[in-house]
Amino acid sequence: ETLRLLTWGSYAPDELVKKFEEKYPDITVEVTFSNNEEMIAKLRATGGAGFDLAQPSHDRIYAVQQEYNIYKPLDLSKINTDVMQDKLLEGVKANTTIDGEVYAVPHQWGTSGLMANKTMAPDVKAWGDLCDPQYKGKTSMRLKRTILLGMAFDMGEDPFAAYADLDKYQSILDKVADKLIACKDNLKAYWKGGDDLSAMMMSGEIVASETWDSTAYKLYGENKDIVFVPPKTGALAWIDTFAIPRKGEADDAAYKWINFVLEPENVKIMSASTGAIAAVEGGKDLLPDDKKAAVNAAFTDADIDNLKFFANIPAGVEDMEGKTLEKIKAATGSE
């Protein structure tokens, strides 16, 4: 039988897949790399068919499930929930329970924050510093919702709280948009994937950027001057989860995979590939040494306490954010 994974790039390292297939010789693993939006879009188009296990982030399940009904409830008895870090497990369960059924369990977590080249941009501490004129033409960000949220926090707002009042949220978005439009001039380019971000950072074309932590860790391995910087308003934390598509055809294999990748020696392999911290007890210690060093270089305990976990996205927010992003993208005159 085949296990069709719909997951993030690097969330299924070859080594691990091979190991899994050796352990379960009757299962072959097929991997499709994706991201939150595409996962949902794809599953929506297929009505939840075509894949046996998906890995959306914890904040992207509730509303989507209500609207499109693309996941099936998990059978928690088949999952080794014991190994999971309680706080994360409960958080995800709380976020993804509909009609008493749980739709997701946590896999790995990580943050979005800033990345800076210490020698060239020692002062980058907050989201807003990307717009600091002294780095004109040498900063970058991804034009997605993360930067909207980060910038909102930077401006003293609490966007997650505003989810309850969409009008309020809209006004925050408008403010953020103005700021980001004004900031446009300061940027070299919007990055679209880890690839161009790495290239720009490594080559010194930019000195600071919004980033996924894993990308920052990877670059730290190459160049110790490049470090992840948790913004002073708090890094945005996400938890990528396991969810089973409604028409998945290999549930058993899916559960086997979930349990398999949470085994400590496998977590090591996984984290080495993803740079994210597994949602198991002592997850951080299972990071490979260089990544652990990078995390330690980046985070103090205070930073960890200050993490802002993404809140569940209510229906309609994607649309509002989308429009805001379009507005920013379309705004010209700054060049």
Binding site: R4, L6, W8, G9, S10, P13, D14, E15, V17, E30, V31, T32, F33, S34, N35, K42, A45, T46, G47, A49, G50, F51, K192, G193, G194, D195, S198, A199, M202, S203, T215, K218, K247
Partner: protein
């Protein structure tokens, strides 16, 4: 040669032509070159020559021939392209006979319909087919609790989506050839005692064969490199372009992508060569 322009003009003209071909080759050379760079990043500086990105079997420099996902992408691309070329050559041939040989009402209109898919943006084709298929599948599921799996994103939809516009290309190629066919050749064969089927088999199809082969090769190449239409229709069996795109945007590129590019360039060049040979085997009348 039509008429000889003066030499100074001709020289600058030639330089322009040469510059143009340099322009055409530049990005391919750039993409191909870094396949041999002994570095984890496909960029300058040059770290020395290596074939690791083709043949090495261990991370981090996993060569393309050991990279299961790329190989699987290659395999799916191949499967998709094969089906697409077979189907589109078949329908293209039927269309050629239809439009060259048959008379029927509103022929001009239908001819325009046949050409149309070529000018519909690929993204739109992909989306419209996805929407229709999903709606039918959802409808069937809700109303009849029927699982019409083939209407969900996946190989079949990708094949259909690509087929929908590639058939126009194959049709045009084969029509052009059939138009050159002297129908009296068929009559001559009848006259010599052949049955209808035999005429088709021994006269008409052999005559069309070079065009069918060329159309097939073009269809194969176009299918192999299609992105826009495929993007919306792909399921879990991703062809190479999609795999590479995901790799590049979602994982980060290493020179293995350059290696694949290089490999594809060589492959396409070979195919192109074959198509020339097929078309040149006999002087055609």
């Amino acid at each position: 040669m039509a008429i000889k322009p003066n030499t100074a003009f001709l020289t600058s003209y030639r330089i322009y032509v040469a510059a143009f071909f340099v322009f055409l080759a530049a990005p391919l050379v750039a993409a191909g070159m870094f396949a041999f760079n002994d570095s984890l990043f496909p960029s300058l500086p040059w770290q020395g020559f290596t074939l690791d990105w083709f043949f090495n079997d261990t991370e981090p420099k996993l060569g393309m021939f050991h990279d299961r996902r790329l190989l699987r992408g290659l395999y799916y691309s191949f499967v998709i392209a094969s089906f697409v070329s077979l189907l589109s050559v078949f329908v293209g041939t039927c269309n050629a006979f239809l439009f060259v040989r048959c008379r029927f009402p509103a022929k001009d209109f239908f001819y325009i319909m046949m050409v149309l898919p070529l000018v519909i943006p690929g993204v739109i084709l992909g989306i419209s087919i996805l929407l229709l298929a999903s709606n039918i599948a959802n409808g069937a599921e809700e109303a009849l609790s029927l699982d019409l799996d083939f209407l969900r994103p996946g190989l079949i939809l990708v094949v259909l989506g690509q087929f929908s516009f590639i058939t126009t290309i194959t049709s045009l190629v084969i029509i052009a050839r059939l138009k050159k066919f002297d129908e009296s050749m068929e009559e001559a064969a009848f006259n010599l005692g052949a049955s209808r089927v035999r005429v088709l088999r021994t006269i008409t199809l052999p005559f069309l064969f070079p065009a069918m082969a060329a159309a097939g090769i073009v269809a194969f190449l176009v299918s192999f490199e299609n992105f826009n239409t495929t993007l919306f229709l792909v399921g879990s069996e991703a062809p190479l372009t999609i795999t590479m795109y995901d790799r590049m945007v979602k994982v980060g590129s290493t020179p293995v992508l350059n290696a694949v590019s290089f490999f594809l360039m060589v492959g396409s060049a070979l195919l192109a060569l074959i198509s020339i040979l097929v078309n040149r085997d006999k002087p055609q009348t």
